[in-house]
Symmetry: C2
Amino acid sequence: MKARVTVTLKNGVLDPQGKAIEGALRSLGVEGVDSVRQGKMFEVELATSDPERAKTLLKEACERLLANTVVENYSIELL
Amino acid sequence: MKARVTVTLKNGVLDPQGKAIEGALRSLGVEGVDSVRQGKMFEVELATSDPERAKTLLKEACERLLANTVVENYSIELL
């Protein structure tokens, strides 16, 4: 089964990459963007077809590798 | 209004970062992950509240800065 994991910075954590994108959009003349925050997205193909097992597996993957839970949140979405 | 833009590699484009994550998960003992592809995600706060205007703006931002449309697809989701 397929799943999508998104990892975003927690509120209050500075996002220099997002700030750089805001600045770049302004220099390109794209007006009307108030703020940008960048995150990561992972499309994962799993061997299991059991949703519970899939969630447990992805939670472990996030906690141990995909997200730095000190400064990042993650969300898991089964497709 | 808020929007989420996701940028993913097109099918057939090699994703070494995704492959590295697959390998790392295996070394960590997380079994059952068949494949991983990494993408980017942008949370954008827009000045406008008109959905049509927002889509046009984000499309322009994607085409000109956020995505390399030769090798990447993007999708825009208004929240």
